[in-house]
């Protein structure tokens, strides 16, 4: 058997990241699990107690906690995936040159990409599973359909992971990452339907928000968790995320290859 010919070879890269994660997982717990829980407590339970009394029609008849929970699940996946696509990938490209080491073996650039995507899928699976359990504890999901929130959240995360990885592969240093978080990730977190329905935005902004991947991710996750009005439009959201991720994946491959093979 010649190494590098099987598509499963990409799993070696996943395995390498898991091996490293065994040493470094503690640092990721706060961002991936505790911070979203603080939001859920402060906004969902605390702030939500005001909203519940007034205006649940705008939330599709659900309490604010029910509305917010699945939205936070999708945005947490976006945030973790976005972070993972910046500094850690940059480290492997140029600071610690791990990709150079791997590419000196029979593995090729597409193995790196699929291996990283496999690793990201593992992270997103663990985050969304824990998050879904928390939602169950809060009594938020309305049917077993809620289990589909896990693949929906993974897809949301992968869309961002691949798109930002494509960006990272073009960067000389980490200066551009602050801009990614300031002008992309954080605005999406605030305005793509996680905290309030996008129809509350002015028309122009509502349209822009509805074009972002997080909007579709939030709508898909919320649809399956609450089995509410969002559920009807699931094919649109799913198709959007699949197409977006495919294009992002292709761009990530192209930029990474240009960066690493020259």
């Amino acid at each position: 058997m010649t190494a590098g010919t099987s598509p499963l070879t990409a799993l070696r890269v996943t395995q390498r990241n898991l091996l490293v994660y065994r040493r470094t997982w503690r640092g990721s717990v706060f961002g991936s699990f505790l911070t979203p829980l603080l939001y859920l407590g402060a906004l969902g339970v605390g702030l939500g107690s005001f909203i519940a009394a007034q205006d649940t029609d705008a939330l599709g008849g659900f309490t604010y906690l029910q509305f917010l929970g699945p939205g936070l699940l999708a945005s947490t996946c976006m945030q973790t995936a976005s972070f993972e696509a910046t500094f850690p990938i940059m480290g492997k490209i140029s600071w610690r040159r791990n990709y150079e080491a791997i590419l000196a073996t029979p593995l090729q650039v597409h193995h790196l990409l699929f291996g990283e995507a496999g690793w990201m899928t593992f992270r997103l699976t663990s985050i969304s599973t824990v998050f879904l359990i928390v939602l169950v504890i809060f009594g938020i999901p309305t049917s077993p359909l809620a289990l589909l929130a896990i693949p929906a959240a993974i897809l949301t995360g992968l869309a961002f992971f691949l798109a930002i990885m494509a960006f990272t592969a073009t960067q000389k240093n980490d200066a551009g990452f602050a801009a990614i978080f300031r002008f992309v990730v954080n605005p999406l977190f605030l305005f793509s339907g996680t905290f309030f329905p996008v129809d509350r935005l002015p028309d122009g902004l509502e349209f822009i928000a509805s074009l972002t991947p997080l909007y579709h991710g939030v709508a898909l996750v919320r649809g399956v968790v609450l089995a509410g009005p969002d559920l009807a439009s699931w094919p649109v959201h799913l198709a959007y995320l699949v197409v977006f991720s495919s294009i992002a994946g292709f761009l990530a491959y192209t930029t990474l290859r240009r960066r690493l093979v020259k």
Partner: protein
């Protein structure tokens, strides 16, 4: 992979004509063959039409100042960098089409260590073995042998990050040997190491060579080239400017001995070329004068006979450094 026998003992490549798959126009004992090999980065030509052959079992050196094109050449051999034009064959295969198969048979020691800093010494080797599809049991046996070979057995379970530069280098070398390569590419293997660490690395490389492994080394250390290389090429400005064994190059481009003279400024000002007849070549440096001669003592006697007052004189054998400086100049390259 290992079939029970000590693997390092088996590293003598069974490289007869029959085992080379799909040979190009190479003779059986040519492991790397380059003709008009060229690498361009946009308008910059990093490697400009170089020709060379590396034979099985030899230690072959690329010598040259920074930016001469050594690393670019190495990266093309390692199939990490596609060539722009020319012809290249590595272990009998074509890097453009058979990169993965070639890499399976190479060991690469890069200029800058790229170990997995978060993993332990042993894990670095085991993980690398996975990339070559080496089964777990063989990988563990092989890793244990290699740690012993590079004297890191007692650090096997330590994390890589706090290790010294010399230890990281040795681990990188061990990692490059995990797939029992028949050809090892070393890009400036001892740059940045202290003398003890350098000698240990040299010793290990020498042992590999004596086991029949082919080494290709880039360096700008003359002593390293003289110690390790059977044959070398000197690169300058993207081209090969000389080729031969260290001995041959010294004979061709220098004299057997060099006389280093220090004179007072007044004496130097009054020389009027009187030294030219004493040696084959005279080089005027700011702090001293170098006289290249077959017999340095004889040259010194002639100078004494001319009653030129000397502050100090030193006769030494010519080194590769003399060749190198003659071929690539004394101007600082930056």
């Amino acid at each position: 992979m290992l079939d029970g026998r000590p693997a390092l003992g088996r590293m003598i490549p069974a490289l007869t004509a029959g085992t080379i798959s799909a040979p190009m126009t190479t003779t059986p004992d040519v492991l790397i063959r380059a003709r008009a090999l060229t690498k361009q980065f946009g308008a910059l030509t990093a490697v400009d039409g170089v020709d060379f052959d590396v034979h099985v079992g030899e230690a072959f050196g690329f010598l040259g100042p920074n930016g001469a094109g050594k690393t670019s050449t190495m990266r093309m051999i390692a199939c990490s960098s596609p060539m722009s034009s020319g012809e290249l064959s590595v272990v009998g295969m074509n890097p453009t089409k058979q990169g993965a198969q070639i890499k399976a048979r190479l060991g690469v020691v890069p200029q800058i260590d790229n170990l997995d800093a978060e993993l332990t010494v042993l894990e670095n080797l085991l993980m690398y073995a996975r990339y070559f599809d080496i089964p777990g049991e063989s990988a563990r046996a092989r890793a244990a042998e290699l740690l012993d070979f590079v004297q890191l057995t007692d650090r096997a379970n330590d994390q890589v990050e706090p290790l010294s530069g010399g230890m990281k280098r040795r681990l990188t070398i061990a990692r490059a040997l995990i797939n029992e390569p028949e050809l090892i590419l070393l890009d400036e293997p001892t740059t940045g190491l202290d003398p003890q660490a350098r000698h240990l690395v040299w010793d290990r490389l020498y042992r590999l060579k004596s086991r029949g492994v082919t080494l290709v080394i880039t360096t700008h250390y003359m002593d390293e080239a003289e110690q390790l290389c059977d044959r070398l090429v000197v690169m300058d400005h993207a081209k090969i400017v000389a080729e031969g064994s260290p001995r041959e190059l010294i004979e061709r481009y220098s004299t057997r001995e060099v006389l280093e003279l220090r004179l007072t400024d007044a004496t130097r000002a009054s020389l009027n070329g009187r030294l030219d007849s004493v040696a084959e070549r005279v080089e005027d440096l700011p702090d001293r004068i170098l006289l290249y001669a077959a017999d340095g003592e004889q040259a010194l006697e002639k100078i004494h006979a001319q009653q030129i007052p000397i502050e100090s004189a030193l006769v030494r054998r010519s080194t590769l450094e003399d060749v190198f400086l003659r071929l690539t100049g004394r101007t600082l390259i930056e």
